[in-house]
Structures are given as C-alpha cells and as structure tokens.
C-alpha cells in the first residue's frame, strides 16, 4: 500500500482506568486497562472517503484522535504519505511532528464548543495559518480568511462577526473553513453533522462533497448514523469493541453485509421505507469494554456463534470485496 495517503497498521490505544494506588493496594485489586482500540489496520487513498461506524464505546472516536495525534498509540504504526507519524520509528520532537501533520485537520461534532466565543470568525479561520507561518501579514490573512469563508458558502464580510451570531450549520461551515486554511489533503471528521438538524445536515454533507470534488480531499468520516455514512463514504469500516469487524466498499457493505454485527446494525436502523413493517428487535447490548468476552467479542449476541467463536478471536480476512472478522463467514456457515 505505498500509494496510501494514510496507513494504520495494528494500531492500539489502551487507557489505564485503575482506581487510585491506595485503593488498589488496600483492596488488592489489579490494574484496570481499557482497550479502547485494539489492533486496527486501515488504509486510505487520496480523495477517498472512509466511513467508520459503530455504537458508543466501540473506539471510533479514539481512532480519529489517534490519526490526528491527540492520542499517542499504545502499539502499532501510523503512516501519512509514507512517513511514520507515530509508532516506534516516528521522528522525535514536536516540531517534526507538526510539520508531518500539516496536511491533516480535524472537524469536531459540537460547533458550539469548538469555536472560541471571544474570537472573531476571521481570527478563528486563519489561526492554523498563523500557527504554521507566524510571519504572515495582516492584509494577506484578511484575504485568505475571506476566500476560505466564501469557499464554504459564507460571505467574506462575515469574518468580523463572532461565533454566536451564526446558527449551528453556519458554525460547522466556519469549522470547515478553519480546517481548510492549511490546504490539507485529509480531514478527520468526528460526527460532524450529529448536532445539526436534518435540513442543515444536508447542507453540510452537500458542501463536504463539493469540497472533496474541488480540492481532492480525503475524509475519515466517523458517525453513528449509518444512513449518513452510506451517503458520504466510498468505503466503510464497522467497529465493535475496539476492533474492525468488517471493512468493505460502501455499496457492498450496505448491499450484502457479511458480519452478523453489521447485519444487526443495518436491521436496527429505522428508515423511511420501514413504514408499517414490523420490527425485529435486536437482542442484547454492547458488553462492558473493561471485561470483553473471550474469543469473538460479539459471540454473546451472535445467533451463529459456536464453540470456536467463544474460544478463538477471528482476524480480518478477505471475503469477496469485503474483509470480515468472523469464523462463520470464514467457514462458509454464513
């Protein structure tokens, strides 16, 4: 995968959520380790959109944070344009890291929390340019800010306003303008439309598509909303308890889902076409990630689980156009 823009190989991130040392000692309790992400392999080509879906606690947001460097991986290597960003072979030093990460930006879920309310929009939008090239002149920055705002469908003159003067959808446009200021090739978007109303969500999704076409951007698009991911993504990864259980082109994944968990998720989504149809309720809930089941993490909820599933953890294997981590699929039982 030399052509990949972004490449994650066996990336894991553990969090130590142990009780304090004294409690541990007195109550003779061991350390508690949360394996938020546990061995994820992903590759992303230029101009491609990779969707990551899964329920709360599956590790999808942690993957986003690992990619942009907000968390350091516990294990594994992340490469961007062939250069090692994090992992054993990563170049030391904050400056080198910053230079490598210049090509990627992140968009967050809450456009109310991610913009500083005391800054004018113009300053918010050009902040990444300032951080990168501190010497840039004021007139130059004004010009760049106006161009960026126009690019996301706002008026150049809006730069003098403050964030509270904008609606939620417009704020998310400001976040996108800020992310575009360093001319990135990769945007990591963590639930970018989840806080927005549907009509506004449609505006933002359409804008993201237009920008991708115009600028050749690649997106890592994280969402719990399967319909949104179906709309925007070229390829989709489904996560369950810190691992990818199925990775496939969007059309394949939504058309012929292979992994039992993917099937369950797709069945559970309420859809406009569902009117009048009786629903088959899904059994069970995501297990406690501190104490994941042995073998395949999905086996307690899986109708196809057998002895091997309870014992041995399946790895991601190619199955047609998709890659699936499931013994039943591998054995041809599914």
């Amino acid at each position: 995968m030399t052509a990949a823009l972004l490449d994650l190989s066996d990336v894991a991130r553990y969090f130590d959520v142990s009780p304090p040392w004294l409690t541990r000692t007195l109550e003779r309790r061991p350390r508690t380790i949360l394996k938020a992400v546990d061995g994820v392999d992903l590759a992303l080509a230029r101009g491609e959109t990779l969707g990551l879906v899964g329920e709360s606690g599956c590790g999808k947001s942690t993957v986003a944070r690992l990619i942009v460097g907000l968390h350091a991986p516990t294990r594994g290597t992340i490469r961007y344009q062939g250069q090692v960003l994090s992992g054993p072979a990563a170049p030391p030093g904050a400056r080198a890291q910053r230079r490598l990460r210049r090509g990627m930006q992140m968009i967050f879920q809450d456009p109310y929390a991610s913009l500083n309310p005391r800054w004018r929009v113009r300053d918010i939008v050009v902040e990444p340019i300032r951080a990168e090239a501190p010497g840039t002149g004021g007139a130059d920055l004004d010009r760049r800010a106006a161009a960026l705002l126009e690019q996301v469908g706002l008026a150049g003159a809006d730069g003098v306003k403050y964030p509270h003067q904008f609606s939620g959808g417009q704020r998310q446009r400001i976040s996108i303008a800020r992310a575009l200021s360093t001319e990135p090739q990769l945007l990591v978007c963590d639930e970018p439309t989840s806080a927005l109303d549907v009509s506004v969500q449609a505006q933002v999704l359409n804008l993201m598509r237009d920008l991708q076409r115009r600028l050749g951007l690649a997106y890592v698009f994280i969402s719990h909303n399967l319909a949104v991911v179906h709309h925007i993504a070229d390829r989709v990864g489904v996560m369950y308890l810190g691992r990818i259980v199925e990775l496939a082109p969007a059309r394949t994944l939504f058309g012929v889902p292979r992994h039992p968990y993917t099937r369950m998720l797709l069945d559970a989504v309420p859809d406009l076409e569902m009117t009048g149809k009786a629903r088959v309720a899904v059994a069970g809930e995501v297990p406690n990630p501190l104490d994941p089941p042995a073998g395949c993490a999905f086996h307690p909820r899986c109708p196809h689980a057998n002895e091997r599933c309870r014992r041995e953890r399946p790895v991601l294997r190619d199955a047609g156009a998709a890659a699936v981590a499931c013994h039943a699929v591998e054995e041809g039982r599914l």
Partner: protein
C-alpha cells in the same frame, strides 16, 4: 384514521413567553387529536415548538412560559386549566412522560425499586409489598432480565438502554392512557433504539395506550407512528397518515425535509437542500413563515398565512402545495 372518540384533543393551543422585549409566541394555534392505541408522531427541527407542545400537555411548561390560549381535553375532561395539585395527580396517573435523557429522570440516590413503588403508591391504593410486586412486574414487562433481582439496584448499575426501560416502567406505573415521549431514543445507540421502539409499539397495540412521540428523527416516526404532524416555526404545517406524509407530502417544507434525509437503501448523488435555517422566534416572517426558504413561493405567501386544509390524503398549510412528492420514491 380511527373513528373512535379521541383520547387527547388539543384545540388552538398557544404557548407564550413574556420577555423584556415583548411576548414571544413559541406555539401558535396548534390543534390535533390522538385516539386510544394510536401513535402520533410530532416532527420538526430545533425551535419548531414540538417539545413545548408536549410539555404543555403534561403541564410542565417552565415559567414564565404559559399557555395563553386554547384547550387541552383528555378523555373529554379539560386539563389545561387544572390547579397544580390536580395536574400533578393526573400526571403519572393518566399521562406518563418519557424524556430524552434517562439519567436525569431517575434519582441516583434511590434504588429503582423504591422509585417505582413510590410512584405506584402515589397513584394506586396498594400496600408496600403489593406495590413492590407490581414494580417487578413492570420491569419484567419492559424487558429487564432478572427483574426480581434488578429491582434493588441503583440507576448507575444499569446501562443506558436499560435505564430508558426503567423510565418507561416508571411512566407506565399507574397504567396511564396517554404517554408523551419526547425524543425517547435520541440518546441511545441504534440497536437499543430499535428495542425501545418495539417496546413502545407493543404498548400501543396491546394496551391501547395512546402515544405522542416527539422526535426529530423521521426514521423513528416512519416506523412507529400512525399519523404525523410536521411543525415549523411554532405551527403544524402538515398532518396526515404516516405513509402519505413520508411519501406523498404536499407542503414544500415536508417535501424538503424528507428529501434531506440520507437513506441506507437508496444511492443519491446530492441530498435535497433547504437553504437557510428555521427563523428565530423574534423574527418570524410575515405570511407563511416558510416563504423565505420555499422553492414554490408565490407573491401572496409573504402577505397572507395559509390555514391547514385538506390536500389529498393529508392536511397542509400551503398556498401552492407540491403535486406529488418528488425526490422520495413511493414504495
């Protein structure tokens, strides 16, 4: 739809908030009815007035907000002008409420058994032990495994989906005839969401409970509701049977709303886009409140406000309704 007498009858409801800069009207002239066993979905985007309409019915509008006009009747009895104490008895006994966040609806310091028995004994003349037995029965009914043991657990010992079941059990404690559910599945994951939907559906079908389901999620409405009311800027702009509103909407706002929802079965290059955003309460446009964003507007739309009138299978408030629903495929 159903020809039985409505259980809930709302007529000309108006909710106002007095502010320093004048009175804001958040809900205007809203009228609808719900029959026993019927699920009415109320949809709209933030600020449409859907949650306030629900709050008005359960008598929980935060002051200084108030019901300024209109009447609410429950099973033929007027309830919007009841004194606080009488309303408090009615709430829980006749009307159950389910809110979005199950954690804020439960007291973290009491076991769920205690919260349930307290609610049951407030409304029903039962002994402590009978109330406890009823609590276990309720937990079992909403699908909590090992209810006899779980009844002594605290809210934090339950997962999000289980907590929402407990909240539903609380709402059901006195066998109310109406449940007002405000975004009951919004905070939940899809697999849990589908379980809660199935649970509420079962209540309506098997016990004849009427449900007012307030949500922004059209998918949930499409699946659960019998009829849908679409709200915009404080008014109902379209109301009708769910299949007609979803697939054959007449009001341009409803059409746009349906077209803007991504689907998991259909490939679409672009989503239908309604430009702009819902107006603020301080600046509701003249005439039809939707006209500045409307692709089908006529000159008169800015001057006169259209009333709800029959348009095919639904009733819509529009001077120039869409002929058939474009952008959404019929089944």
């Amino acid at each position: 739809m159903t020809q039985t007498t409505p259980l809930l009858d709302v007529r000309g409801l108006r909710v106002e908030f007095p502010t320093r800069r004048g009175t804001l009207t958040a809900v205007h002239d809203v009228s609808f009815a719900i029959a026993p066993g019927e699920v009415l979905g109320v949809v709209g985007e933030s600020g449409a007035g859907k949650s306030l309409t629900g709050a008005a019915i359960i008598g929980l509008i935060d002051p200084p907000g108030r019901i300024a006009a209109g009447e609410i009747h429950l099973a033929g009895r007027r309830i919007d002008n009841l004194p606080d104490e009488a309303m408090r008895k009615l709430r829980g006994r006749e009307i159950g409420a389910v809110f979005q966040d199950p954690l804020t609806s439960l007291n973290p310091l009491y076991t769920i058994g205690r919260q349930l028995t307290e609610t049951i004994r407030t409304h029903l003349p039962l002994s402590e032990s009978a109330a406890r037995a009823r609590a276990v029965e309720l937990l079992d009914e909403v699908g909590i495994p090992a209810a006899g043991r779980r009844v002594d657990h605290y809210p934090h010992q339950f997962s999000g989906g289980m907590r929402q079941r407990v909240v539903i059990a609380l709402a059901l404690a006195a066998k109310p005839r109406l449940i007002v559910a405000d975004e009951p599945t919004t905070a939940l994951d899809v697999s849990i969401q589908s379980q809660i939907i199935a649970l509420l559906q079962g209540l309506a079908r098997e016990h004849g409970t009427a449900i007012m389901l307030v949500t922004h999620d059209m998918g949930v409405i499409a699946e659960m509701a019998d009829r849908v009311a679409v709200m915009y800027a404080g008014r109902i702009v379209e109301i009708g049977p769910v299949a007609d509103v979803v697939h054959r909407a007449r009001h341009p706002y409803t059409v746009g709303l349906m077209g803007s929802i991504p689907s998991i079965v259909e490939d679409r290059e672009r989503l239908a886009q309604i430009d702009g955003a819902m107006p603020r309460l301080t600046a509701i446009p003249s005439g039809c409140a939707f006209h500045p964003r409307c692709p089908r507007r006529l000159p008169r739309c800015a001057e006169a406000r259209p009333e709800l009138s029959p348009q095919g299978a639904t009733r819509a408030a529009c001077w120039n309704p869409a002929a058939a629903a474009p952008g959404v495929t019929a089944p």
